[in-house]
Amino acid sequence: MTLPDPRRAPARTDLPWLRHRPLRRVPASPAPRVNLQHPGRPPLGTGRVTPAAPSAGASSLDLTRPSAPVPAPAPDAAEASVAVSSSLDLSSPGLTSSSLDLSSAASSSLDLSTQAPAPASSSLDLSTPAPAESSSDLSTPPAASSLDLGPSTGAAATPSARALVPVRRQPSAAQGDPVLGYEPERVVVGRPTLLNRDRPTVALTRVQSGVGVLRLTMAVGSGVGDLRPAAFCHLSTGETVLLDHNRGMTTAPAGSRRPVVQAVDRGFLVDLRQVSRLQRLVIAGFSPTSSSLAWGGALRVETIGGARVDVPLEREPGAGSLVALSILNVGGQLVLRAERQLVPGALREAALAFGFDGLTWVDAWTPLG
């Protein structure tokens, strides 16, 4: 089973709504709660909210601000809560305290609620009143924090809301993204680009790679010999096709009425509207009679916008297939590279030398259709 990549998941648009949705208010009076304040403590000063009195059946831990101020707990009320308080009750002043009762009158080392004498407030002191607001004061949270999922008021929630907005990072090969790891040279419209040993590769922009037709034409003089173009095409479907116009192998996919690549006289046409279906294209020149050729001429690549790339076909005279150009589709950009590799042998050897091993061959020149 393939797990989906969470980074490619669609952006969550419901998070702001979840944070700001109106919550149904629960009536405050029957809510069971635990009072973290010692009942014998005097009422707090101005600006502080007195915790609610412990009520019967208290069993849960309420760390939220009470909905309405209630009077300070009277000793009688506190004593009344002793009978039914659970072991989690941190405020029970009763004498019959359990082992987890942290507020018993008999002070121990674990007593967190003993009020007198209170020399200094520690960060673990949950009940000792302090004149200043501290982060450990659970009874009166000073402001909405990033953990506050309730209705927020004012500008305090704005930064945390901003922090939740997903930021799309730039794809980078250094982080494993399938992109070019370098800044490619581009084709300048109106000025032919020559691919040679010093500048073997150039990349078309996404617009140049996706609009119109890419025309590849082999311009060869008569002195070269019987030089014919051929192309190996690897499609995104996994299909590998050999294109040879002179032998009727003219479309990729084979037999398609809407081909991605089409072989024409002395060249090829790439339908850039379907460029996403093209993965790799390699252009080669060969002699059908296996005769030695005086390599020369050039392969011209033209876009509909006027960009032009020339690849020389110059090598020492010899037999075999001259692989002139490879075209890679990297994320919608076509990367053109002058290969200039003369592969001895027939077309089958040239195909294997460039990784087109998905073809089954009838003979060294003809793949099984």
Partner: protein
């Protein structure tokens, strides 16, 4: 041959029998190794992601640039070691390790959070960064050598500062 051996009439050793051993660190040998690496990459292009293939070929271009800089001045030992390591070990090992995987698991994230394809891209990028740094250092040495030559010529053919 010593003068005593000539007096005794000893035969001179045939120089053809003492053919120099091929220098594996010569620019020609390094370029041949880079070309062999290019053929290795091309022959496995069908099983590599297009982006990895493009970046691997860009890496071989950078290696060629480093070797070509030997036309200006000999490569220093660090550049030779860098080229030798990438060409003979690092990049082939990375590609072989990736190609040995079952294609179905190449895009499945591993325990580290990255899939093998992502790891392949990262490794090629690391190698590119390393070789690019070697190329920059080589070019800076060339620039320093050019500046030194300029100071030498200025001192040799201009008037000396001590002339009155």
């Amino acid at each position: 041959m010593s003068w005593l051996a000539r007096l005794r009439g000893d035969d001179e050793p045939d120089e053809r029998d003492q053919a120099p051993e091929p220098d594996e660190d010569s620019p020609e040998a390094l370029q041949a190794a880079v070309d062999e690496l290019v053929r290795f990459v091309n022959a496995r292009a069908g099983a590599l992601p297009p982006a990895a293939l493009a970046n691997a070929r860009a890496l071989t271009d950078t290696l060629t640039e480093v070797v070509d800089s030997a036309q200006v001045r000999p490569l220093d030992v660090y550049a030779v070691i860098s080229v030798r390591g990438v060409v003979g070990d690092y990049l082939p090992t990375t590609l072989k390790g990736y190609l040995a995987l079952d294609p179905e698991v190449r895009d499945v994230p591993r325990a580290g959070g990255h899939s093998p394809t992502e790891s392949l891209m990262m490794q090629i990028d690391s190698l590119q960064t390393s070789v690019q740094a070697t190329l920059v250092a080589t070019r800076e040495q060339d620039a320093d050598a050019l500046m030194t030559q300029g100071r030498f010529l200025q001192t040799k053919f201009n008037r000396s500062d001590l002339d009155l």
